[in-house]
């Protein structure tokens, strides 16, 4: 119970709007325990460990920690490094030298796998050690979690962005296609549905990687909405795949290259542009536009869910509490126990590490082109308080004269 030594907290993978809440949750809680001799932050994830790039969070003011907690992106820096056996050896050389006995790694699937690997190394080498994974990912794709910190704020950004895109598209009608982050799981693209207030609001169509994407069906869907409303707003996950599991971008690029022998397309805007060009070509609609949300959706400053902030703080704090109460390893998970209330558990790291949760079938409609009311029930409480609402004129039409 009273394992004495230093604690290291680090952040891995893509930043989120609330990942610093978790880091500060760990730091503030850890600073209360006398057996934790120092609270270190490793800079740029595990890369900072092997290079001994630490900052001493025991010497940071509470006031500034709170300011950093409210700041998006990873305050300690991040990394895409993943440790192999040799890397692990380096980590533990450093851990031994500094007498580090507690390790908290805030991240997604890859980071949870890092915790598993590091912990295994500790066990195999009889190093008395506690390693806890703290969840984070805007993709919302961690197993055993109702949702993951970072997702609610990114979802809120996507919803607010679609409110604006819908209003823009209403003012200057046409087809608008937005490409949203999400290589395997479609939660974030699906969150665009929260923009809808009136029955004819966009998004009108949502495509996620969970359902095989057919370009022909897509064109039929767009035509159907456009014929009905004179406009169409579409939300698409970047990772949509065809029925063989090939990303649509890759399969359409090959198609294009085969047909014309000379088209090279790459980079962030390509999928949206490909889909927009197909709509133009097949439906002869003049005004077809695409946007790719890119990095804006994961660290925009000033669009955050208060529910997300609170929970991100708590998973960090709970992680330390679990470790101080004897847990030697695991991943803190968010569990929905009321509408809306959550509790936190410590799950075996193997249940989370390097696995991917997808959207369950009951969240996607039968046509595979929109979400269900069950998804909206799931999503709404996560978006937090003070969501803006769009208003429409209700003034009556006047009579035409001649």
């Amino acid at each position: 119970m009273d394992l004495k030594g230093k604690l290291v907290v680090a952040q891995g993978g893509g930043p989120t709007a609330v990942i610093n809440q978790s880091m500060v949750g760990v730091a503030l809680e850890a600073r209360k325990y006398p057996q934790i001799t120092k609270v270190y932050g490793a800079l740029n994830g595990i890369n900072g460990i092997v290079n001994q790039n630490f900052v001493d969070l025991s010497q940071e003011t509470t006031e500034n920690l709170e300011l950093v907690a409210a700041t998006p992106s990873s305050g300690l820096g991040s990394t895409r490094d993943k440790p192999d056996a040799k890397y692990c050896e380096h980590i533990f050389q450093v851990f031994r030298a500094h007498d580090v006995r507690y390790f908290f790694y805030i991240g997604g699937n890859d980071s949870s796998d890092t915790v598993r690997i590091v912990n295994e190394y500790a066990k195999n080498n009889n190093y008395d050690f506690r390693a806890i994974h703290i969840p984070k990912t805007i993709d919302n794709d961690l197993m055993c979690n109702d949702h993951t910190p970072g997702f609610p704020s990114a979802a809120r950004f996507v919803a607010q962005a679609f409110m604006g895109i819908n209003l823009d598209n209403r003012a200057l009608p046409g087809v608008h296609i937005s490409v949203i982050m999400g290589r395997h799981a479609g939660f974030l693209a699906a969150a665009s549905a929260a923009a809808r207030l009136y029955p004819d609001d966009g998004p009108h169509l949502i495509y996620t990687p969970e359902c095989p994407f057919s370009i022909d069906k897509f064109i039929i869907d767009v035509k159907s909405v456009y014929d009905r409303l004179g406009r169409c707003v579409v939300s698409v996950s970047e990772g949509i795949q065809d029925k063989n599991g090939t990303p649509v971008l890759a399969s359409m690029m090959n198609l294009a290259t085969d047909a014309h022998g000379n088209v090279q397309l790459s980079g962030t805007g390509a999928l949206g542009e490909l889909l927009a060009n197909k709509v133009k070509e097949k439906l002869s609609i003049g005004r077809v536009r695409s946007d790719t949300f890119g990095y804006l959706q994961r660290s925009f400053m000033g669009c955050v869910s208060d529910v997300d902030q609170r929970e991100a703080r708590e998973v960090g704090e709970k992680g330390v509490q679990f470790a101080m109460n004897g847990a030697t390893e695991g991943s803190v998970t968010i569990n929905r126990i009321g509408n809306y209330a959550v509790d936190y558990r410590l799950n075996p790291i193997e249940d989370i590490a390097a696995k991917t949760k997808l959207m369950p079938d009951e969240f996607i409609n039968a046509e595979s082109n929109y979400v269900t009311p069950a998804f909206m029930d799931y999503l709404r409480p996560l978006l937090g308080s003070g969501m803006p609402e769009a208003a429409r004129l209700r003034a009556p039409r006047t009579e035409k004269l001649n």
Copy 2:
């Protein structure tokens, strides 16, 4: 003074976050005057006039008008139509039939030219008529205006987006290039500078259409920042031009086609991707990303400058007051009379119509790759209250052991 008849208000061109404030400013003020027999809103700009698609804003609740005022994008819909002689004839057939004597058109350069054309037609045809242009454009490029409604909120979005992009780039270092709206004037790309709090914060480089863009100089600039900081955040106007005035996108696409004979690039993401590919190719930097802000920057729901909201409301209200005090034509302009205070004037429409204001030289640095302190003094008060601020850890580095 007491010209009796109906009033028509309409919205033209690209939507902004506050264009409905101006529409509501016109409507609420106009409803006070008995000689204005009805306040009509034309749907989709002047297109709604020729098609007699009007809503009766005299029959709209004040409460709902206030809610619509706070909603981004054009609540009456918009248009890109520009009237020729025949179109004008249609407009006045409708105006005569409905006894419309006041016309308020909220828009940018093109819309102000429409007001000029319509007013000229009225004069030539002895139709007793008052037509006022109400300014609006995120491009901030209207003559005689200190700034234009819509720009401050778009600038705030861009600044908040760059705060996030800077923090993201700090966490996972590399080169990040963002492409911002602005075909002729670079104000909006320049507004990214408001994201900078610490001296090493991005954006580190800003390129606007006002200065000839050289790809070789750009590569040298990026290298210089990257060598110094290990990262580089760049803000670029979509309309950057080479020394011959050719848009960079067009000239580089031609180059690419000449060199490889087979590259087709088009659409929203192309400029950012071209620049990113050049950086990768010339500087061998692994992590180079680009984002194109697209429609998000002009109608994102939930990011607005309160200064902008107030002024957008006032230009509408003042427009009606000018007309009710005898003005027959003109464009309402914003004039800075204090730090920070503005007043409104009615300028001759010819001074604004179809002209473009560019960034003055004193707002751009000698190297043509950043803004000056004078620009920051100009910009800061426009962003409004409650701008978020990013905080950094200040915890001391620990000693390395071996």
